[in-house]
Symmetry: C2
């Protein structure tokens, strides 16, 4: 597969092979900071956009066409497979997702189905097939999914949360119930990601965005085993796997055991320290992705360029995919995103 | 001073002197989880409660009377001195603070005054004097303040924030402006805490709650120097100083240089690891406070007791003040808070 890609930097960096420069893309790069995205989005609601392959493919390609990133990530939402499990989902982009009937009982968990992606979310696979055709092997196409702990947080809380109090209440008072839910999610996501790979995804990224809110002990019990289960269940020869956790600094060595090839880290940890810790713990074979604070893209061009060069230097020339530490914010000026991308590209 | 206290465990633990058991209290222990607090609060608004010494003292003493904690913290809010600097503050307890005119310009910063606490916030000092009289040296009285970075976050954002985008925009596009604000805040808080010590506070705790949202580099530039400045400016012989940061795992060794005697840590880092890291970095002289996940108090009695004993064992018998990793949540059942306190007390 790699031979066929015109730009295979991301694949090579993920597997720690030599590259002329670090590959670069941005989490949430198909998003509201782009006027072209807002133009498409203005004519349709968020869920319809996710579910219409032509539109989803169009916005997925925008950051490639406009900014020249080294990878395209298919436009979707981590809660799409959760809706397919049988939960009624409302997505208000500016407010976040809402489940009007949050999960609280064993009966509710039993009623959730493990969806067949070809039947329940065919649009996601069609989007991938369409994007592969349109990309014509220019750059790799990333497919993604949310990890069980993070998906469960939305399902139990009923939406976004500040303290994850409902989820943790279940965790610390009915742990077996939560494990039942996490098990079902792990199976769903394994099938879902395998279907994406089969449809043509050339890289997979698993988002356990909120797992950094856990104590290291709780992470080991309620998040890590399910991340491991998913990576172990993927049919992914030659397909690099990326694991993202926001706030991963305290659990980096645990995260290194998920089975991913690349750890995508947030900005709260120095990437040079992360590299040294991984090497010291026997994980010199893993690559790193990240880790610019997304808010630095609200700063001056000079600050952005200097911060990017600092990260590139600290991460070293091998095994690094440049990215933000979290998704790009809607209020970022496009020229600042361009400075981010261009600084990486000129750093050879 | 210590000789006069009937229960001086917290002072002794802060200075790494032998204790029969770890002292215990809870951040936000005078709060909405207590029906007795809600009864007082139901008759007055939050700011009036802060500004009325008799009422503030009454709710401050409730957790001591009801749960038997080893220290009393005076009821107040970190934004009280900010209001005294000349910013109009609205405090809605369930929603958080609101500044209707957030700080964005040099002119606004110049207009802020450095308030004289005896003149502008006499009620805070009166509350301390009243509490000292009512406590009659039973347990130590803690005075507290917010640190400049965290206070600036509310002043620039105009309230609570998810990404701190406005604050970081200033940080990365107009750093000198932010430094001006932080300087003025450091001076204000130094004077404010010294006045509290003079009024009778026997322990001080500085809250830089949101400094864990910064990259280690940004912490070193925008938070740490101001924390250091405050601790260096306190007249505090025999008065232990506690430094709290939520999400401090990546900056623990930097935090150890603030000048505080005790580092109060959140639950995302294993307290045994924190102890080992401090010892390895030459900070074996510092004590630790924390670090139970506040959400564990939503779990079963068994889970609470087991989690408390695990932390006590990992922290070791010397130099540990038991506490939560963040403030107690309003929905915690009082009997669960009691289990937390009683488990510590029975662990001799």
């Amino acid at each position: 597969m790699m031979q066929t890609l015109q730009n295979d930097r991301l694949i090579r960096a993920a597997f720690r092979q030599p590259v002329d420069r670090a590959p670069v893309w941005m989490m949430r790069q198909a998003g509201r900071y782009l006027p072209e995205y807002r133009a498409v989005r203005g004519q349709t609601d968020f869920l319809t956009l996710c579910k219409t392959p032509e539109l989803a493919a169009e916005v997925s390609l925008q950051p490639y066409d406009i900014l020249g990133v080294d990878a395209v990530i298919m436009f979707s939402d981590i809660l799409i497979p959760v809706e397919a499990m049988g939960m009624e989902l409302e997505l208000i982009e500016s407010k976040g997702p809402v489940f009007h009937t949050p999960i609280r009982t064993a009966e509710q968990i039993e009623q959730l189905i493990i969806p067949d992606p070809t039947e329940k979310t065919p649009y996601a696979l069609d989007t991938i097939r369409l994007l592969r055709k349109q990309l014509n092997n220019a750059v790799p196409l990333i497919g993604f999914a949310g990890a069980p702990f993070t998906l469960a947080s939305y399902m139990v809380e009923g939406g976004t949360s500040k303290n994850f109090a409902e989820l943790k209440k279940m965790m610390y008072s009915a742990p077996r119930l939560l494990h039942q839910l996490l098990d079902k999610l792990a199976e769903t996501i394994t099938i879902y990601l395998n279907a994406k790979i089969e449809a043509g995804a050339q890289v997979v990224q698993l988002f356990d965005t909120w797992a950094g809110e856990l104590s290291p002990q709780a992470y080991a019990e309620f998040a890590l085993p399910y991340e491991q289960k998913i990576f172990a269940g993927l049919k992914r020869e030659g397909i690099p796997a990326i694991m993202y956790i926001n706030g991963c600094g305290n659990i980096l060595e645990q995260m290194a055991t998920t089975g991913a090839d690349v750890l995508s880290i947030d900005w709260r940890i120095d990437i040079g320290d992360a590299r040294r810790r991984l090497d010291a713990a026997g994980f010199g074979n893993l690559s790193l992705q990240g880790n610019l604070d997304p808010c630095i893209l609200l700063g001056t061009q000079e600050t952005i360029a200097a911060s990017v060069r600092d990260i590139l230097q600290k991460a070293g020339p091998v095994g690094h995919i440049m990215n933000l530490g979290h998704g790009i914010l809607p209020m970022v000026p496009v020229e600042n995103a361009r400075t981010f991308i261009d600084t990486v590209k000129s750093n050879q």
